[in-house]
Symmetry: C2
Subunit: 232 residues, 2 copies
DNA sequence: TACTCCTTACGAACGATGTTCGTTATGATG
DNA sequence: CATCATAACGAACATCGTTCGTAAGGAGTA
């Protein structure tokens, strides 16, 4: 039995990295942390290597983040357009989008920061939303703008939610702040005649309620915008 | 004439820092850069000192950012509620909010990340918006939710715009990407029957158009939500 | 005036980040 | 079997937020 000769290079054979593997690992990390925990070093360490190794498959951290978002967008449902139920289809798609964005907290930020979502899945999803809108009779201009508004709304809402989800903003901190605010306003009743009474409505509302309210406004406004006299 | 004796301590007398001065300096930096350029070190260096000196007046970078946002919120107009023109007043306030948020690109992110905006100016502005809404006859619940939706919409839109404004995403990069996307879709016409034709509508639209479209949807939906049969 | 004490200023350092450079090793190609 | 493009990787650089220990200034008191 021979003592092992000290190797100058690691015993394990050369790692086989790939863009898919990196994106997978990054998504796994994102699933249990915020976007900030998905650093080049963390991903590399999870893969048992150093950060420099990733740059052969990914141009930058930003590019990695966009790849992650596109991967997730590929999992969204793309229902077959139905002219009769198009508003419900849009609702369904928006809910799925929000659910996905909050399941991977922090990825919403990528959607907001990416100026032009260029991934194939992003385009396919955009095509799907547009198809439903146009099947519903929404004119070209309104459909495109509505898609734009809808994407922004979902991403923004998910982004706001992510701050709480990831635990980077303590639940107790929120409670403390809310109490401080209430006390601050209560001490100046003449300054806040409106906020004082109704502030708790927002505090007690669930995120789902707030999201649905926005969606209701969006859909009602959209229908009214291109069918202003439907009942006539 | 005597040669100056080398002093062990800096020649300038002790600096007089203050929270206001720090926030002012930070805002000045933000005005000509992104939020990332407003680092503790940059602010300190602009003030001619080290980063540690700031922590006597500001708890953390996050707190500094919130202070900056609150300062800016204090400059927004708070019109006297007018039941006859309340929708125009809301429009005016939203436009002013967007203008401010884009004048200091990157500050919108703070608004999105801050779970509960607690600053006095944030509260005063919320009170003002709520006052206009209620003067217009919007019921309590709808008014509060509408305020929430409106804030999120403005912040999100400004955040998206900031990426372009600060130049951190090159104008040319956008053009290149758009061309790539167009080529990608043109090569797969059966896959993008809807996007292909109307994609350029969005590309050619100005940010103002997109913002106004969202505001139109918002206001139309809001009016319809609590006055569903106004014309009866 | 002399002494004490508390707040502020600040240099230095710690750990972590994204990215680049130069150097190996590997697997395919000729 | 020799060659070579490319992936892997160790080390380093500049930057970041934050903390610690120390020095200095002014206010309050004897």
């Amino acid at each position: 039995m021979e003592a092992e000769w000290p190797r100058t290079k690691p015993a394990t054979q050369r790692r086989v990295l790939s863009q898919d593997l990196i994106v997978d690992t990054a998504l796994e990390l994102l699933g249990k942390g915020s976007l900030d925990t998905v650093s080049m070093r963390q991903v590399a360490q999870t893969l048992g290597t150093g950060p420099a190794s990733l740059y052969a498959h990914v141009g930058s951290k930003e590019e990695l983040h966009e790849l992650m978002l596109d991967r997730l967008l590929g999992r969204l449902p793309r229902p077959k357009p139905d002219p009769d139920t198009w508003t419900e289809q849009i609702l369904e798609m928006a809910r799925a989008q929000l659910k996905m964005l909050t399941a991977y907290p922090g990825i919403a930020r990528v959607g907001l920061e990416t100026v032009v979502p260029a991934g194939p899945n992003a385009l396919a999803y955009g095509e799907a939303v547009l198809a439903v809108l146009r099947a519903g009779g929404v004119p070209d201009r309104e459909a495109v703008f509505a898609f734009d508004t809808l994407s922004l709304w979902c991403s923004a809402f998910a982004y706001e939610l992510a701050a709480v989800k990831t635990g980077e903003t303590d639940e107790q901190t929120i409670a403390t702040r809310s109490r401080e605010i209430a006390a601050y306003m209560a001490a100046r009743p003449t300054q806040f005649p409106n906020l004082l009474g109704v502030g708790r409505i927002l505090a007690e509302a669930t995120p789902e309620e707030r999201f649905e309210f926005g969606m209701d406004l969006f859909l009602a406004g959209l229908v009214g915008a291109f069918e202003p006299r439907r009942t006539r």
